[in-house]
């Protein structure tokens, strides 16, 4: 089974645009996979075949790439895919406890989305936000300085359809498919939303200003 003709046609237009960005077509494979993930929520057999056709390579070659990268999901995830950082720094700061409590709170099989299809959870590695530990993500937006209590409230709000704002990100989290589409290189026009930096990012700058510390003047 392949994509419906109207879907295929639309995706082919997007695919052409992606491929045109690169000196060689095969470089477009990662964004193309984000694109098909945006369409279906995961990378299905159809998605693999579509990418293979666009690039003139075999489905097996595409599969080999899909299985290498953790962001490509071969089974459906929730509309809101929640990450809990369990790399050492976050784990020690409470990420392990957050994961334990959150997975118990949601119950069921952690590799499946909640029955309403709203939320799935994943243990993620260091997400380059250790100064905000413990860190969580929703569809790859940052939720900083989390606690087990905040984590429970977060998934409750997501499941209840409330507007949920990341700590450093857009004014509200978008859906999983929308996020994947941005990663494929199709902006959603929301770059101006949200803070430019969180308080931790500004610690050194604030202190330097307080104490009158500056970089040297150029002396030439």
């Amino acid at each position: 089974m392949a994509f419906e003709p109207d879907v295929a046609e639309r995706l082919e237009r997007d695919a052409k645009e992606i491929i045109a960005r690169y000196p060689r077509p095969r470089s477009a494979l990662l964004p193309l996979l984000h694109l098909v993930q945006a369409e279906e929520g995961h990378v299905s057999k159809d998605g693999v075949d579509f990418c293979a056709t666009q690039l003139g390579i075999t489905p097996a070659q595409v599969e080999g790439v899909v299985t290498f990268y953790t962001m490509y999901k071969q089974r459906p995830v929730g509309e809101y895919h929640v990450g809990v950082c369990i790399n050492t720094l976050c784990a020690v700061m409470g990420g392990d406890q957050i994961w334990a409590e959150l997975s118990e709170y949601l119950g069921g099989d952690q590799s499946e989305p909640t029955p309403d299809g709203k939320v799935s959870i994943e243990r993620i590695e260091c997400n380059a936000a250790c100064d905000y530990a413990p860190v969580m993500t929703v569809n790859w937006e940052f939720f900083d300085n989390m606690t087990p209590e905040k984590a429970r409230r977060l998934v409750d709000d997501l499941r209840a359809g409330k507007t949920v704002a990341p700590t450093r990100g857009a004014d509200s989290v978008c859906g999983w498919r929308q996020a994947s589409r941005i990663l494929a290189g199709f902006p959603d026009g929301r770059a101006n939303e949200g803070v430019q930096a969180g308080p931790e990012s500004l610690c050194g700058l604030r202190l330097a200003d307080e104490r009158g510390w500056t970089a040297p003047e150029a002396g030439r």
């Binding site: 000196p23 095969r26 470089s27 477009a28 990662l30 964004p31 984000h34 690039l55 790439v65 990268y69 953790t70 962001m71 490509y72 369990i86 790399n87 720094l89 784990a91 020690v92 700061m93 409470g94 392990d96 406890q97 590695e125 260091c126 380059a128 936000a129 250790c130 100064d131 530990a133 937006e141 990341p166 450093r168 990100g169 990663l183 290189g185 902006p187 959603d188 770059a191 101006n192 949200g194 430019q196 930096a197 308080p199 931790e200 990012s201 500004l202 610690c203 050194g204 700058l205 202190l207 330097a208 200003d209 104490r211 510390w213 500056t214 970089a215 040297p216 150029a218 002396g219 030439r220």
Partner: protein, 430 residues
């Protein structure tokens, strides 16, 4: 000059810092105009003279790397910015790109001009959606304003810059794995030589630099190589962002000349959290051997940290106090390396797997002192025998923890379990 020197972080407190307007308001893209009026080779020379060394971990001299790019050849040259930031503990490039993407873009254009490249990529990890948005918008703004595209600022120089999102794989931060990934393959490291400067992306001469390295370039062009070299230490010149995380009162980003010490940084960050004391720390991410409170006064520059038995790495200072079980920390890092090992070579693939199994057993107290020798033996077989630096990095927490905390390992065996309470380490335990 102050103890902190905000340069890369200077604009981060302005609410619209990421916009083109804010950037040009404070003199942004002025360095680009200067650079486009210079001979490309003079830019390479200025960066060489500045003493800038790569900020992505290895500290290779940036100007020298650019100088390896063949000139007068017919192959297209490429610039690839490494924005994969995934080394555990490292958290400087992401806030930089979120707050000030134009600084990176300006640095990229100047670098591309210097190495005579007309196509450049920013390879950004995919798990940072808002950073991707900011980069995409900033690149679009730069095209619109004539800083990218054909005939930039009427200089005759053309450059296409593409924001390319990764898909979750730590190994893709390794420069040659990154190239394979950018070419649309599984991210597995390539055999070196040939180095990317000779045969990189699509076999063409390629410069790969870290975000912070590239973002430092406009300030060098603007203020001069001497200005840059006037900061830092003799062989580790300039400034860098020091990222404090973990058990400190005010974790965050502190930009300072290289050579500052952890004692000074902790003093600025309000010390280890109240009522606790420093136990161990990483100077530059999980792949740099652990240090302890004995090393508070080691100048954080490439030479001094190496002399102290570790590596400066990415200046990712992860601070752990006495509530933290070192075996738990090392086990978790080992699980990370086992998960992220690309599987290409046996020492790393198998070695990290055995690390994981053995440390899990040791943490539960089911080990013997002999196991520590086995772990060290195993480490000898990974270190220097792996195909890329991921394998070497994986040994750092294991060997350094045994070196500094052998007694704590033994205590696990003698008491038949872990004596630590993880709850005491959490953010909410205070």
């Amino acid at each position: 000059m102050g103890a902190l020197t905000p340069i890369l972080t200077r604009s981060w407190d302005r609410a619209d810092s990421f916009t083109l307007d804010a950037y040009t308001d404070r003199g942004g893209y002025r360095a680009l105009r200067t650079a486009l009026g210079m001979d490309p080779d003079a830019i390479v020379t200025a960066v060489k003279d500045s003493g800038l060394r790569g900020r992505g971990g290895a500290g290779f001299p940036t100007g020298m790397k650019w100088g390896f790019i063949p000139q007068g050849d017919t192959k297209p040259h490429y610039l690839v910015v490494n924005a994969d930031e995934s080394e555990p503990g490292t958290c400087k490039d992401v806030p930089l790109m979120m707050a000030d993407p134009h600084l990176l873009i300006e640095g990229s254009i100047i670098t591309a001009y210097a190495i005579r490249s007309h196509v450049a990529f920013i390879y950004v990890r995919g798990e940072v959606l808002h950073v991707v948005r900011r980069l995409q918008q900033a690149v679009a703004e730069a095209y619109e304003a004539g800083y990218l595209g054909a005939n930039i600022l009427d200089s005759g120089f053309d450059l296409e810059l593409v924001v390319h999102c990764g898909a979750g794989a730590y190994i893709c931060g390794e420069e040659t794995a990154l190239l394979d990934s950018l070419e649309g393959y599984r991210g597995q490291p390539r055999l070196k030589p040939p180095f990317p400067a000779i045969a990189g992306l699509y076999g063409g001469p390629t410069v790969i630099n870290n975000v912070e390295s590239i973002a430092s370039v406009p300030s060098i062009i603007e203020n001069g190589a001497d200005w840059f070299a006037g900061m830092g230490t003799e062989k580790s010149k300039g400034f860098g962002i020091f990222s404090l995380s973990g058990h400190v009162t005010r974790p965050g980003q502190y930009e300072a000349p290289l050579g500052i010490t952890l004692r000074e940084l902790l003093d600025m960050a309000g010390d280890v959290r109240a009522g606790h004391e420093l136990k161990f720390w990483t100077p530059g991410g999980s792949s740099t051997p652990l240090l302890t409170s004995e090393h508070l006064d080691v100048p954080l520059d490439f030479e001094s940290v190496s002399a102290a038995g570790s590596l400066l790495g990415t200046r990712a200072l992860q601070i752990f106090d006495e509530t933290t079980c070192v075996i738990r920390a090392v086990l978790r890092w080992s699980e990370f390396y086992a998960h992220e090992s690309c599987g290409k070579c046996t020492p790393c693939r198998e070695g990290t797997y055995w690390y994981k199994l053995m440390l899990a057993r040791l943490e539960k107290g089911n080990g013997t002192e002999e196991d520590l020798d086995t772990l060290l033996d195993l480490s000898d077989n990974i270190m220097g025998r792996s195909f890329c630096a991921l394998g070497d990095g994986a040994t750092a927490p294991v060997t350094s923890s045994i070196q500094h905390f052998r007694d704590e390992y033994i205590q696990h065996f003698t008491s038949g379990g872990c004596p630590f309470d993880p709850a005491a380490s959490t953010l909410w335990a205070g």
